[in-house]
């Protein structure tokens, strides 16, 4: 049931008022650059002898303000990568609204979709795989300019490419090289450069640090943070690594089996979270300090993530939740404000003690 705000077409971005039960309890936010409401993405998969509908993303709503970094955290099956791809129109969304500059991203097509692409870019998880093995780096970086600024002369394009290359900490000699000659860290810098070269406003970073060596993660993490601040970018930072999210993000959204469990400011989430799943995630995240790691004697979360094809009724987390009650099986908890977080849990008030 779609209770989202219709923002398609010419809705005034200055108004930003909301209706819909999902949003009722939420205080008004400064105007959002991106407002996602009830996003759902379904895949048709082969199952037994027929097909089944796999709901990878189920009614996800969130907002991203200008200049803000929002972390999307979750494990496998959480739908975080699918959200990225749906927003970038790489996979079709089943329903929902993604309001960007007053237009619904999900309903765009043709020339308008093409025009939107220059404001919304993506950084990939596997930097080497995201670079065309047959093109040299200079051409890879120049391509978005060819598409969106065809009026540039070859020389002007080269200048922009050079400037961007330097901005991500690489030298001009990289431009003649090919993807397989680069290290993971260098390739990711090129990925970042390519995303930035047409000066987008919003960048979705899909696990940008996960494929990098430990000693390189911090370099690229710093780079992203610096660039974001310099260029006033809005970032959607998708990751399963809580520590990376804590470093990079202003606000965090926790996903489980395609649904939002909790949204809170970064410090609030890590210090006083309000959802049992968030708490379990934080407790399971490794801490590089034996004293701290061993001091937190808590039993790990039981069971495993159910298949999205057989999502539990009511609250999808209830099969593993140490605090589950009858109500959890009957009633899907709605996202509501509890203390400083938005939580989808019937017992949110009791968490964090």
């Amino acid at each position: 049931m779609n209770t989202g705000v219709p923002q398609a077409g010419g809705a005034d971005p200055q108004r930003c008022d909301r209706t819909g039960s999902a949003a009722q309890a939420l205080p008004p936010q400064p105007c959002a650059l991106l407002a996602v409401r009830e996003l759902s993405v379904t895949y048709r998969v082969a199952y037994r002898r027929g097909h089944a509908l796999l709901r990878a993303v189920n009614g996800v709503s969130f907002e991203l303000a200008r200049g803000e970094t929002l972390g999307l955290v979750g494990e496998s099956g959480s739908g975080k990568s699918t959200i990225a791809r749906a927003l970038l129109r790489l996979v079709p969304a089943e329903s929902g609204v993604a309001s960007f500059h007053g237009t619904d991203l999900l309903k765009l097509s043709g020339a308008r979709l093409q025009a939107m692409r220059r404001h919304l870019q993506l950084i990939f998880q596997d930097p080497l795989a995201s670079l065309d093995p047959r093109m040299n780096i200079g051409d890879i970086l120049g391509e978005p300019l060819r598409v969106f600024e065809p009026q540039l002369s070859g020389q002007q394009r080269l200048q922009r490419v050079l400037a961007m290359t330097r901005a991500v900490g690489l030298g001009a000699e990289q431009l003649h090289r090919f993807a397989h000659e680069l290290s993971g860290g260098q390739a990711q810098r090129i990925g970042i450069a390519r995303a930035l070269i047409i000066e987008p406003e919003l960048i979705v970073c899909d696990e940008p640090l996960s494929a990098l060596d430990v000693s390189i993660k911090s370099q690229i993490g710093n780079l992203l943070k610096d660039l974001q601040r310099q260029l006033q970018l809005s970032l959607l930072f998708i990751s399963h690594d809580l520590a990376a999210v804590r470093f990079s993000c202003d606000r965090v959204l926790v996903l489980y089996l395609g649904r939002v469990m909790e949204i809170a400011g970064c410090d609030t989430l890590f210090k006083a979270c309000r959802h049992p799943y968030t708490r379990a995630l934080i407790r399971a995240a490794p801490i590089p300090d034996p004293v701290a790691a061993r001091a937190r004697r808590s039993a790990p979360l039981e069971g495993e993530i159910p298949s999205p094809l057989f999502a539990p009724s009511g609250c999808v987390f209830r099969t593993r939740c140490p605090m589950a009650i009858d109500r959890c099986a009957r009633e899907i908890p709605l996202l509501r404000q509890v203390a400083d977080s938005q939580v989808a849990c019937h017992r949110a008030e009791e968490v964090g003690d």
């Binding site: 494990e75 000693s215 993660k217 590089p288 790990p300």
Partner: protein, 332 residues
């Protein structure tokens, strides 16, 4: 009459040819694994940690050249022929791999794969092996053992497949379990379960575990002793608390400082290590970490530092004398 540590590695080097020249994956490693201990080996890609593990069980690439010594009890593993090595593998020393999906045979039922270990090494009857296998499944917390035995690997989840691998590895009650990034491919909540399982099994059976990972957090969670590898060498080796509290090698210190933490206040910047891990086909002379090291001395680029013991049980391979601490804002 304790013969000392069951596994003693001395001067191990592994080299193999590749498109880009000779790769020196492992260079002159000395390492002991004591009975029942939990040894963590931490390193990035190119550090040689996986090659080290593979060479113990003779699983290196066919064109690899190994020299040095790997002694398990009285046997020199590098001298053993394949029949004798098979006696050791899975039986006395066994291994768990990173990706359970590729490590399990997709065409055989799970039960068949687990019982195979016993049928090969203990000459057990099918019935006895099956009973033992179901016991093992219980001990790795897989419920409904008999049903699971008849399933195929693709019918199990990632975490369960990894548990099956662990069951296979431990069913013959080996003395040493080698684990190559066993939880890296798993979700973080499942990783916590697997690490907890390792600890539980070790407490129960006394099996020594050698766990290779790139994740310092995992090491901090479970290891007794840690060896840090860089470019094929061990650069630091110490009990876990000592290593984290007082790292003696610049790489260890830098690595520790560069990892963001969820339990500490948020820094504006992470202390990052400049440069990139060296190319194993073109290693620099002297200390391989020197190009990236903030404590670098002229001697570092000329002479490879030997691994020497500083305080009890704490070894480092570094020319820099005295305490580190620049990265933590302490006086140099």
């Amino acid at each position: 009459m304790t013969a000392g540590p069951p596994l003693r590695i001395r001067g191990l080097s592994v080299r193999y040819p590749s498109d880009h020249g000779q790769i020196e994956a492992v260079r002159d490693i000395d390492l002991d694994v004591a009975a029942g201990e939990f040894l963590g080996i931490v390193g990035e890609s190119g550090s040689g940690k996986t090659q080290l593990l593979l060479s113990i069980l003779g699983l290196s690439a066919p064109r690899a050249e190994l020299c040095g010594s790997i002694r398990y009890r009285e046997q020199e593993l590098l001298d053993l022929g394949s029949a004798a090595l098979n006696q050791v593998r899975g039986n006395r020393i066994s291994m768990v791999f990173q990706d359970p999906m590729t490590a399990l045979n997709p065409y055989l039922r799970v039960g068949r794969q687990i019982t195979e270990v016993l049928r090969v090494h203990r000459d057990a009857t099918a019935r006895a092996a099956e009973r033992r296998a179901i016991e093992m499944l219980e001990s790795v917390h897989i419920p409904e053992g008999p049903r699971r035995m008849r399933q195929y690997p693709h019918e199990l989840s990632g975490g369960m497949r990894q548990r099956v691998m662990i069951a296979m590895a431990l069913i013959a009650e080996p003395e040493i379990l080698l684990a190559d990034e066993p939880s890296t491919a798993l979700d973080v909540t499942v990783q916590a379960q697997i690490l907890s399982l390792f600890q539980e099994l070790r407490a129960r059976t006394g099996t020594a575990i050698v766990l290779v990972t790139h994740d310092l957090g995992v090491i901090a969670e479970v290891a007794d002793r840690v060896a840090v590898m860089y470019a094929g060498r061990i650069v630091e080796q110490a009990p876990v608390h000592g290593l984290f509290a007082h790292p003696r090698h610049p790489y260890t210190e830098a690595l520790q400082q560069s990892i963001p933490r969820i339990d500490a206040p948020r820094p504006t910047h992470l202390a990052s290590i400049g440069g990139a891990p060296p190319n194993p086909a073109a290693l620099p002379a002297g200390c391989a970490f020197a190009p990236r090291c903030i404590y670098r001395l002229p001697i570092c680029e000329a002479v490879t530092p030997p691994l020497i013991e500083t305080t009890a049980g704490h070894w480092k391979a570094c020319h820099h004398d005295g305490a580190l601490g620049k990265l933590r804002g302490e006086a140099a």
